[in-house]
Amino acid sequence: MLLVDAYVRPKNEEEINKIFELEARFGYKAVGIDKQYEGSSDERIITFPVRVVSGRNEAEAKEVLRECKKGELVISKPNDPGSLRVFSRDTRAHIVEISPKLVHLMDRNQAELLKVGKSFIGFSLSSLIDDPKMFWWLSFLLNYSMKYNIDLVIFSGASRFEELVHPKTTLNLLIQAGSPKEIAFKIMDGNKLLKILGIMDFAVEKR
């Protein structure tokens, strides 16, 4: 299993080194870092740039996706049904972080769109720190992804090192949210994500 933390957004330059140090200690092989700190790297782990985009409507969603470059992971945050549909069916948006307010749109058709766009559903664990009630949303997304066979990505979204998450904690969170152990391991495996970005071979070499 290849552990990948798809997104961290350090608060300042000082936090970056501490975050890299801890991620390497916890056994993560690759870390997605906010585009703002694209240049920073560490010899112990692979880093890749992450662009977070959001759209308030369909046109804006299409516009922001045009700016995305190859080689960076794109996390999209839709705010309305139109942008959700655009981000879901577009292959340029790798991860769709869906807000609980769009729960009424999470049906079979939405799942089909996500499959067309080969998109992952994303869940940031930092939202759980801000509001522990978001645990129901994690549970919902887990059931949804299992029902329609869509990949789910769990990332820390940490801005400080205290917000990072240990793989054992992630595993137990997924188990408590209702996932069987085998599926929890599959969710935590970052192989698919790295394959999309084309850095899989490099990751295997480094391992």
């Binding site: 801890l22 720190i129 522990p132 205290e162 904690t169 992630t170």
Partner: protein, 161 residues
């Protein structure tokens, strides 16, 4: 027969009744412990405890954990944060049923041992993620190191580190 005699007799009667009551309760307690009598004295219990078979031994697990924080932190605060995190994520009754107690905490190395019921190990580790939030910022991070079945083993592992 004077008032003094009546009082002495009354006291004697009461003490004999007390003795009988005590013996009866001892026998009743023994019957409860062996599972021959339902425990009517326990009152209402929360569902998590009710599911545990009567008379069954509570099995414990010891979680060795490490605290990562910018400031020095004491054991009481760590315990408070863990209990609060479990309550936030799984509800107040779960805190009671999981039987969380901090056995040992070393302020120099920031390593501690937490005792929990075997059934609650997973949920306690899961709630480590949200533990330590004070105001808007998270002040500490809890890292699970190992889960053991005995305190002796847990202490040995800490000494080895």
């Amino acid at each position: 027969m004077g008032i003094a005699d009546i009082t002495v007799l009354l006291c004697l009667g009461l003490s004999v009744a007390n003795l009988f009551m005590f013996i009866y309760l001892l026998i009743y307690k023994k019957r409860i412990e062996t599972g021959r009598e339902p425990n009517l004295l326990r009152g209402k219990t929360i569902p998590a405890i009710r599911t545990i078979k009567f008379g069954k031994k509570f099995r414990k697990r010891y979680i060795i954990f490490e605290v990562l924080s910018r400031d020095a932190i004491d054991g009481e605060t760590v315990k408070k944060h863990i209990k609060s995190a479990v309550a936030k994520l799984f509800g107040e009754p779960t805190v009671m049923s999981s039987g969380i107690s901090l056995i040992f905490y070393d302020e120099k190395t920031n390593i501690g041992i937490l005792r929990v019921n075997r059934e609650s190990v997973s949920l306690v580790i899961a709630s480590f993620h949200i533990a330590g939030k004070e105001g808007k910022e998270k002040k500490l991070m809890l890292v699970p190191i190992k889960v053991t079945g005995s305190l002796k083993k847990a202490k040995e592992l800490i000494e080895k580190r």
